[in-house]
C-alpha cells in the first residue's frame, strides 16, 4: 500500500496526479472539486483529461512525468461514503508495481504514448539500432528496453517501437517470426525416448526446444509471445 503524508501530516491514499492549480482549472468553474458533471475537461494545454470514473484496466496515465498502465482496477464505495477507485499500477519505464486508491475528484493526464513502425538495423555493444520507416531517423534502444525481443531481431525486421514523449520504452514484435537454425545436433533416428524435443540455436543466438527432426540450415516459425517453436517453414 502506498499511502503517504503530506506537509500537513494528513494521510493520503490517492495522490493528485497534476499540480493543484491545474486540478482547479479542470474541475468545474466554481473552483470546487466537481464530483458530478466533469468527465473529460480540457487541460490548459489542450490535453483531454481523465477523471477517476474513466479509470479502467489497461488505461495508460501519466503521473510525476512517468507513464503508468493500470493492471488492476476496482470500484468501491464503503459505507455510503465517497467512491474509491482502487488500482494497481505499473510504471512502464521501471516496471515497478504498486497499489493506489483514488477518489472521484482526482484527475489524470493521459500518458502520451505512440507506437511507431520501425525497422531493426543492427546491434552493437548492447545497443539496438532502429530506423523510422518514414523519416529515416534512427534511435538506439538498450538491451533492457528490447527485452525478450532481442531473441527475434534480425536485420530489416519491422517492429512497433513504443514511445513515451519521444522516449523509447520497448518494442512489440510481429506475433510470428521465421528464423534460420544455425546449430542443431543431428537427429538420432532411433531416439524416440528423450522427450521428443531437442535444443537448437537460431540465427539470433536464441536457444529453444524443437522436434528432433529439425536440422541445421532449416527455417522455423516461432511465436514471439511464448518464445516457442510452431512449425517448420519451407521457402
Amino acid at each position: 500500500m502506498s499511502n503517504f503524508f503530506d506537509r500537513s501530516g494528513k494521510i493520503h491514499y490517492g495522490a493528485p496526479t497534476v499540480p493543484e492549480s491545474k486540478i482547479r482549472e479542470t474541475a468545474g468553474k466554481s473552483g470546487e472539486p466537481d464530483d458530478g458533471a466533469f468527465t473529460a475537461g480540457l487541460f490548459p494545454e489542450g490535453v483531454a483529461m481523465y477523471s477517476a470514473s474513466d479509470l479502467r484496466k489497461n488505461l495508460r496515465i501519466k503521473m510525476e512525468d512517468e507513464p503508468y498502465v493500470i493492471t488492476e482496477f476496482n470500484f468501491t464505495k464503503p459505507g455510503k461514503g465517497q467512491a474509491l477507485y482502487r488500482c494497481k499500477l505499473k510504471n512502464m519505464i521501471s516496471g515497478a508495481q504498486f497499489e493506489r486508491t483514488f477518489r472521484s475528484v482526482d484527475v489524470f493526464e493521459p500518458a502520451d504514448l505512440q507506437e511507431k513502425k520501425m525497422q531493426f538495423l543492427y546491434e552493437q555493444e548492447g545497443k539496438y539500432c532502429f530506423m523510422d520507416n518514414e523519416t529515416y531517423e534512427q534511435i538506439l534502444l538498450t538491451e533492457d528496453q528490447v527485452g525478450d525481443g532481442k531473441n527475434y531481431l534480425i536485420e530489416n525486421i519491422e517492429v512497433e517501437v513504443l514511445l513515451f514523449e519521444d522516449r523509447p520504452l520497448g518494442v512489440s514484435l510481429p506475433n510470428f517470426v521465421d528464423l534460420v537454425v544455425t546449430k542443431a545436433e543431428p537427429w538420432a533416428r532411433g531416439d524416440s525416448v528423450s522427450g521428443n524435443t531437442k535444443p537448437v540455436t537460431v540465427q539470433t543466438g536464441y536457444v529453444l526446444q524443437v522436434p528432433p527432426f529439425i536440422e541445421e540450415g532449416e527455417k522455423i516459425r516461432i511465436d514471439t509471445r511464448t518464445g516457442e517453436y510452431l512449425t517448420r517453414v519451407k521457402d
Partner: protein, 307 residues
C-alpha cells in the same frame, strides 16, 4: 450478430435469483409484512453528498425508496417491505451496478438491534430453503450463518484492524480509505459481521445513540468482506432532519451537483414516525453470496455494457 451464450450461461444464477426473491417474499409474508411499491421517479431525493442520482424529466430516479416508505410507516403501516430497482450514477464495479435491486424493510416499535436479529433470521431461513444449511462458502471462505453473528462497533473495528483510531481517520479525511483497505476485508469471514454505531457525521437519516451522542444507531452487514446491508434506527426529529438535509444540500450545491427541492412531505411525516427502524439490503449481492459469484455481472441477466 446473435450470440445466445452470454445470456444462456447465466441460467443457473438466474434460477437461483428467482428462488431467492421468492424466499424473501415468503419470509416477510410469514411475518405479516405488507409488500408495497413506491414510485421510481421522485421529485426530491434525500440529499446525500456521495450519492449521485439520475436526473429524469425534471425529477430524479430514486437512489432508494426510503422517503416514501417512511411516509407509509408514519401513516400507520407498521411493517412494510419492498423489492425494487434503485439508480445511482457512476457506480460500476465488481459489486456495483448503476441500476440494481434493493430489498428494504421497515418496522415500527423497533430499533436497529431488532433489525440485526431479523437479518439473522432472514438469511438462515433463505439459505435453509435453498438447502444450504448453516454453512455458506463464498470464494473459498466458509461462513457459519447460524445466529448469533459477530457484532463489532466501528470504533472497535478500527482499533483492531486499522493503523489509526476512527477519530484520527475522520480528522485526517481518510475514513473510507482505511475502512476499505484495512477493515472491510477482515469482516464477516467466519460468521457474518454487524459493524455498528457509526460516527454521527456518517449517518444522515439515523437516530443519535441514546447515551452516546458521538455515534448514530446505524449498522452495516458484512459477509466475506462484502457489504450487504445498511440499517438504522430512524431519526424522527423533524427539525434535526431538516438541519442535516440543509447541510448536505449545501455541500452538494457547492460541488455543482443538481439542486434538490426540500422533501417537505417526508419531513412533515416524521413526527408521526415514533420509534422505527429500517434496513436496505442489496439483493444482487445476496445472490452473489449464495451463488458463490465473484462478480455482480454473473447474477443479473443484463448489465449496461450488454444492452
Amino acid at each position: 450478430m446473435h450470440d445466445p451464450w452470454p445470456l444462456a450461461k447465466k441460467r443457473r444464477a438466474l434460477e437461483l435469483r428467482a428462488r431467492i426473491l421468492a424466499e424473501l417474499r415468503r419470509f416477510f409474508a410469514d411475518r405479516d409484512y405488507l409488500e408495497i411499491e413506491t414510485p421510481c421517479l421522485i421529485p426530491a431525493p434525500a440529499p446525500e453528498f456521495h450519492i449521485d442520482t439520475f436526473p429524469c424529466a425534471g425529477w430524479f430516479l430514486q437512489p432508494s425508496p426510503e422517503l416514501c416508505m417512511k411516509r407509509l410507516l408514519a401513516a400507520g403501516y407498521d411493517r412494510i417491505f419492498q423489492i425494487c430497482r434503485c439508480f445511482r450514477q457512476k457506480e460500476r464495479g465488481d459489486r456495483h451496478l448503476p441500476e440494481f435491486t434493493m430489498l428494504e424493510w421497515y418496522r415500527r416499535e423497533a430499533d436497529y438491534r431488532d433489525l440485526m436479529a431479523e437479518c439473522e433470521e432472514l438469511l438462515v431461513q433463505v439459505a435453509g430453503a435453498l438447502g444450504r444449511g448453516d454453512l455458506v462458502t463464498y470464494q473459498g471462505v466458509r461462513i457459519e450463518i447460524g445466529a448469533p453473528w459477530e457484532r463489532m462497533t466501528v470504533g472497535e473495528a478500527f482499533d483492531r484492524f486499522a493503523p489509526l483510531p476512527v477519530a484520527a481517520a475522520l480528522a485526517g479525511d481518510c475514513f473510507e480509505e482505511i475502512l476499505a483497505v484495512h477493515v472491510e476485508p477482515r469482516l464477516g469471514r467466519r460468521r457474518p459481521t454487524f459493524l455498528y454505531d457509526y460516527p454521527l457525521p456518517l449517518a444522515s437519516l439515523a437516530r443519535v445513540k441514546r447515551g452516546d451522542p458521538a455515534v448514530a444507531e446505524r449498522f452495516e452487514l458484512y459477509i466475506a468482506g462484502m457489504e450487504l446491508a445498511n440499517a438504522f434506527t430512524e431519526l424522527a426529529d423533524e427539525g434535526e432532519q431538516r438541519r442535516r438535509f440543509a447541510r448536505e444540500e449545501e455541500a452538494r450545491r457547492r460541488a455543482g451537483k443538481p439542486p434538490y427541492p426540500v422533501p417537505e412531505n417526508f419531513l412533515a411525516a416524521l413526527p408521526a414516525l415514533g420509534t422505527a427502524a429500517g434496513i436496505a439490503l442489496g439483493v444482487d449481492r445476496l445472490v452473489m453470496i449464495l451463488a458463490d459469484a465473484p462478480h455482480i455481472d454473473a447474477v443479473t441477466a443484463f448489465t449496461p455494457e450488454t444492452l
